[in-house]
Symmetry: C2
Subunit: 272 residues, 2 copies
């Protein structure tokens, strides 16, 4: 396995770009092949069987690009499909749930952790399970927040309506006196300041995108798969694929990535 092969990163849509961005920052030598399943987005309200079928197709697509490792940048796919994929493929694969869970356990002082995510991620119980596998004494309180993704996509990031809805969703978690809150969906870090205000300054917010890039770097180092750091001012030739709406994807990508995205290609993912 050669070190200059790319890393595959996939998500149900644009949200996983927050993970890609962290990888670019933390391991700038790595070339990324990104796939966003914009034709079938969102995953958060779908069943495990369907998520596994979608994830398998995407892994087969990424394998045609000879990726040396895969980061599942979608919480729902990490929660529902990662364990199955790990058994089926030979290259290292990492999700966002485990790194987020690990950091939450390290962060909490009072042993009370909250998780907010899509319906599917919460329903999977994966955050709770991972947290308990590290420390069974941590109490985990979960809440699905289905309106956050559409509100972010409507650009209502600083809006009293979003704040009102956040207050309703988070009321119960506040009553449980959590001191750590996992933002268990890739869109949620975009609501960070509003969520921070809502929870109060004594609650730490954990962003799994950041932690996933840290874990990926460790994993690549351990397997001796790290790429060379690029020469000053040069960047690897990342590539971006979606299953629908390349133009819309590029607008969002260019609003959050540290460089201008040139060409997004459409993939008929159902044929993989």
């Amino acid at each position: 396995m050669s070190n200059d092969k790319p890393i595959g990163v996939f998500d149900s849509g644009v949200g996983g770009l927050t993970v890609a961005r962290e990888i670019m920052r933390q391991i700038p030598g790595e070339r990324i092949v990104y796939f966003g399943d914009t034709a079938r987005v969102p995953y958060g309200n779908k069943s495990q069987a369907t998520i596994i079928r979608f994830a398998r197709q995407i892994v087969r697509f990424l394998e045609t690009h000879e990726v040396k490792a895969i980061a599942v940048a979608c919480n729902t796919a990490s929660a529902y499909a990662l364990e199955v994929l790990e058994r089926e493929i030979d290259i290292p694969i990492i999700g966002v749930v485990k790194p987020g869970a690990r950091t939450a356990v390290r962060t909490t002082k009072n042993g009370r952790v909250g998780v907010i995510a899509t319906e599917a991620t919460i329903h999977s119980g994966m955050y709770t399970r991972y947290i308990h596998s590290i420390d069974p004494d941590v109490a985990v309180f979960s809440k699905a927040c289905p309106l956050f993704v559409p509100l972010v996509e409507e650009g209502m990031i600083h809006d009293f309506v979003t704040e009102e809805i956040a207050n309703r969703y988070l009321e119960e978690l506040k009553r449980q006196h959590i001191d750590t809150l996992i933002l268990g969906c890739t869109h949620y870090p975009l609501l960070r300041s509003l969520l921070g205000r809502c929870m109060g300054s004594e609650v730490e917010l954990v962003n799994p995108a950041y932690e996933t890039a840290v874990s990926l770097r460790e994993l690549l180092r351990e397997k001796d798969l790290l790429a060379e750091a690029p020469p000053e001012g040069r960047m690897p030739a990342h590539s971006f694929y979606v299953s629908d709406g390349a133009d819309k994807f590029e607008v969002f990508a260019n609003s959050i990535l540290p460089y201008e995205l040139r060409k997004t290609q459409i993939v008929d993912i159902e044929t993989y």
Copy 2:
């Protein structure tokens, strides 16, 4: 073509059940084969090429049930795919956009009509085009309302947050002094009372689901395809298929259909 063959009805998810319900009410002898594409819902934020590909797969599935006619119960699919499908298949096919447009033209007194729908339906311009094909002098004002579907699915039908968002979306239409408003997405009739309050009693709300069932009955009569009316107290054996989440679908279906839905079957629609 035999009259006792079923009618195919399809939608991106559960919303098209409002059309199925109207068909059951208005032509109670017709047997329905319903397909909801719950694995790939929503359609409203996707491209025309993708919607056409999805719709073709669904039509091929419905053809395996030997349907005598098809009702496209999804505004987005009607707007983007109906004209293509009409050219490709031999059986009659009807969408929700034309009947809704026709009724709006009949309803307006001041010649000013509003349309609210998903981004894709508004972007297609189909409501405006159909209205102008009937009466080029009618002024059409359109507004995409992407948050209405997730708000309805969160059950926030009577909620001041939904009312606040509706007031923002509809502000411009109110300033244009429309007297008729097309509810151009199958979820929106569930917000009828809130939207009526927001627009005021002088604005008529048009529900394309109702009008589609009227048009379908006319079409079947014209082609001599109407089924016999069933004996008193008997109902045809409707069948329901989805691409994901049969249980969740049944809960919604049983909340709006006039009878208890027994068995929803899962279809792997990508293989059609």
